[in-house]
Amino acid sequence: MIKIIAGRLFQLIPVLWIILTLTFFMTKIVPGGPFSAERQATPEVIAQLNAYYGLDKPVWQQYLRYLSKVVMFDFGPSYTYQSESVNEVIGRAFPISLQIGTLAFCIALVIGVTAGVIAAANKNKLLDYLPMSISMLGICLPTFVLGPILALVFGLVLKLAPVSGWYGLNYVPLHPAVMPAVTLGLFYAAYIARLTRGGMLDILNQDFIRTARAKGVPEHEIIFRHASRGGLLPVVAFLGPCFAGLISGSFVVEKVFNVPGLGQEFIKSVFNRDYPLILGTVVFFGALIVIFNLVSDVVQLLLDPRSRN
C-alpha cells in the first residue's frame, strides 16, 4: 500500500518535468518575445531587457538555468508585473481560485452523490427520472451559459450576490465566491450524479445485494452499508479529473464573474507572453492535478479491499 503511494509519488517528478520541458520549449519555438510588443521600446532597450532576463543566451542555457531555479521552487520574476515574482502572483491569485474551487467541489459532491443515490434507489421511478433529467440539463448547460444567467438572477434582479469582481463587495449578503462556485459546482454535480447512479446500480444488481436482502437487511442499510462502498468507486475515480476540470473551469467562471483568480492570471499571462508566469502556472496546475489524481487513486485502493494485495 505504502509502496504504491511511494511509487506514484515518484512518478510525479517525471510528469512535472515533462510538463515543464514541453511548456518551456513551446514558449521558445514561437516567434515574438515578451518585449517585442512594447511599441515604445527602442531596439537598445529591448536588447537590454533581454539581457537582463537572460533571454540573449542560447536556449539550452536558459533551460538549464530555469530548471535549476525551479528545483528550488523559484519561478523567477514576472515580466508583466514588474514588482512581483511569479511566486507572489500565484500566492495572491491562487487562494481566490482555491476558495471557489473548494466550495464548488463540496457543492458538486454533496448534490451529485445525493441525487445519484436517490435516483439509483428509485430506479425507473419519478425520483430517478427527475434528478437524472435535471442532471442531463446540467451537463449540457455549460458554465458560461449558466454563469451569466445566475449573475443576472441573483446579482441584478435579487441583488443577493455581486455580479462581478472580488474585493470590497461587502454590500451584498453573499460572498463573491458563492456564485462562481455554484456555477462551477452545479455542472460537476450533474456529472457526479450520473456517475453515482451508474455505480450504485451496478452494485445493486450484484448477487451479494440479493444475499443482503435475503438476510433481511433493511433497504436503507443495503444502500448505505452494502452498496455505497463499491458504488461510489467510480465517483472517487472521477475526483482527480474533476479537480482538473474545476481548475480549467475556473478560467471560464473567473472570466464570467471577473474574479482575479489564478485562471484569469493564466489567461492574461498567455496573452501577454509572460513566459515565467505561464511556466509557473502551468507547472503549478500540473502538480495540483497530479497530486489530486494520486489522492483519488489512493482512496480507491482504500475502498476496494481486493486491490490491497
Binding site: D207, F208, A214, G216, G230, P305, R306
Partner: protein, 336 residues
C-alpha cells in the same frame, strides 16, 4: 401441519419481449425438518418460486400475479415489506449458487456474518461476533477467530460457500432454501458442502428446500422431490418413488439423461427439442412438443397436479388416466 404451504403461485415478468410466465401455478408443501428437492432445467422456475415467497424477485419487471404462501399462519405473499424482512434471514434463510459473487467483496466476513443477528435479534456486536466465530467453527473453518476479519476474496470458493451456510444458519432458521449451492464448486468440494448442510440440518432440525438440476444430488440428499418444467410442477413424489416409478415422461427423461446411468460406448441421452418459450401462453402440457407419448389431448388441455398414489402426484394426463401406468418409462432406476 405443513410448515410452508404454497398454493397456485404465479410469478410473471413483464419484459419488452412479452410476459414471461416464469412460475405458472405452483403448489407445494414442506413439513418441519423435511428436505425437499426442486429439480428442473435452468429457466424452469425453481429459483423464481423461492425468490417469490421471500419477496426477492426484482419488481419491476417481476410481479406475483396470484398465489398464497402460508408459513406459520402468515401469508408471505401478502406481507408488507417490513414483515417479510423480519422473516428473511431469521426464520427463512437462503444460500445462493455462486459463492464468488454472493458475498460482499467490500465488507469483512465478520460484518456480513453478524448482520442477521444485529438486524433480527438486536444482539450486541461483541456477542454476535462470538456467535459468528462459533458458527464458522461448526462448519469446519479453522482459525475462525482470526480469519473472520478477512475479506471474501481471501477465501477459496468452497470456503466462501461454508461462510454463506454459516451466515444462513446463524439465526437458526426454520427453513433453509439452498439455490444450487454446489453447482459452482469443484466436484470434491461439492460433496463436502452437501455433507455439511446435511449435518447442520440434522443438528438444527431445519427444513431444507434444495434447488438443483442434479438428480444425483437429489437422490442422495432429499426425502421428497418436486420436478418443475416451464414454470409448472410436473411431478412430485418421495425420492425413492420418483426414481422407481416416474409418473411423468419429463421426469423419466431427466433420469435417462444422467450420464452415470449409461453404459460405456452408448451415446448420451438428450431430451430432443427445446424448452418452450415462456412468453407464449401454453394451452396444454408444456412438455407435449418434446414428449414421445403426447396425444392430442396433451396439447389442448391444461392438467393440474393430481395425486395418484399416496404422496405421488403427476401432471401428466395420460398417467392420471392410467394409460401409461404399465409402460416401462425408465427402468434405468433399477440401475441405481
Amino acid at each position: 401441519m405443513a410448515l410452508l404451504e404454497i398454493e397456485d403461485l404465479r410469478t410473471y415478468f413483464y419484459t419488452r419481449a412479452g410476459i414471461v410466465r416464469a412460475v405458472d401455478g405452483v403448489s407445494l408443501s414442506l413439513s418441519h425438518g423435511e428436505t425437499m428437492g426442486i429439480v428442473g432445467e435452468s429457466g424452469s422456475g425453481k429459483s423464481v418460486t423461492c425468490y417469490s415467497i421471500l419477496g426477492l424477485i426484482p419488481r419491476p419487471p417481476g410481479k406475483i400475479v396470484s398465489g398464497v404462501a402460508r408459513f406459520d399462519g402468515i401469508d408471505l405473499l401478502s406481507c408488507s415489506d417490513r414483515q417479510l424482512r423480519a422473516i428473511r434471514g431469521k426464520r427463512i434463510s437462503m444460500i445462493f449458487q455462486d459463492p464468488m459473487t454472493s458475498l460482499n467483496p467490500y465488507m469483512r466476513i465478520s460484518d456480513q456474518l453478524v448482520e442477521p443477528l444485529l438486524v433480527h435479534e438486536g444482539m450486541s456486536r461483541s456477542g454476535a461476533l462470538i456467535r459468528a466465530v462459533e458458527s464458522l467453527e461448526e462448519l469446519g473453518i479453522q482459525d475462525a477467530s482470526t480469519r473472520i476479519n478477512l475479506y471474501p476474496h481471501q477465501f477459496s470458493g468452497g470456503m466462501r460457500q461454508r461462510i454463506m451456510i454459516a451466515m444462513a444458519l446463524i439465526s437458526r432458521p426454520e427453513i433453509l432454501i439452498a439455490d444450487e449451492p454446489t453447482s459452482a464448486l469443484d466436484v470434491t468440494v461439492q460433496a463436502q458442502i452437501l455433507e455439511l448442510i446435511k449435518q447442520r440440518q440434522r443438528e438444527l432440525g431445519t427444513a431444507v428446500i434444495f434447488i438443483t438440476h442434479d438428480l444425483g444430488v437429489v437422490a442422495s440428499f432429499c426425502q421428497y422431490v418436486t420436478v418443475m418444467y416451464a414454470g409448472r410442477i410436473v411431478e412430485s413424489a418421495p425420492t425413492g418413488e420418483l426414481f422407481a416409478r416416474p409418473m411423468h415422461p419429463y421426469s423419466a427423461s431427466l433420469q435417462q439423461s444422467i450420464p452415470a446411468l449409461h453404459q460405456k460406448g452408448q451415446p448420451l441421452y438428450t431430451i430432443p427439442g427445446m424448452p418452450p418459450d415462456l412468453t407464449l401462453d401454453i394451452e396444454g402440457c408444456p412438455f407435449a412438443p418434446r414428449c414421445g407419448h403426447a396425444t392430442a389431448i396433451c396439447r389442448e388441455q391444461r392438467v393440474a397436479l393430481k395425486e395418484i398414489t399416496s404422496g405421488h402426484g403427476t401432471a401428466c394426463i395420460r398417467f392420471q388416466r392410467g394409460e401409461l401406468a404399465n409402460t416401462p418409462l425408465a427402468s434405468t432406476a433399477a440401475a441405481l
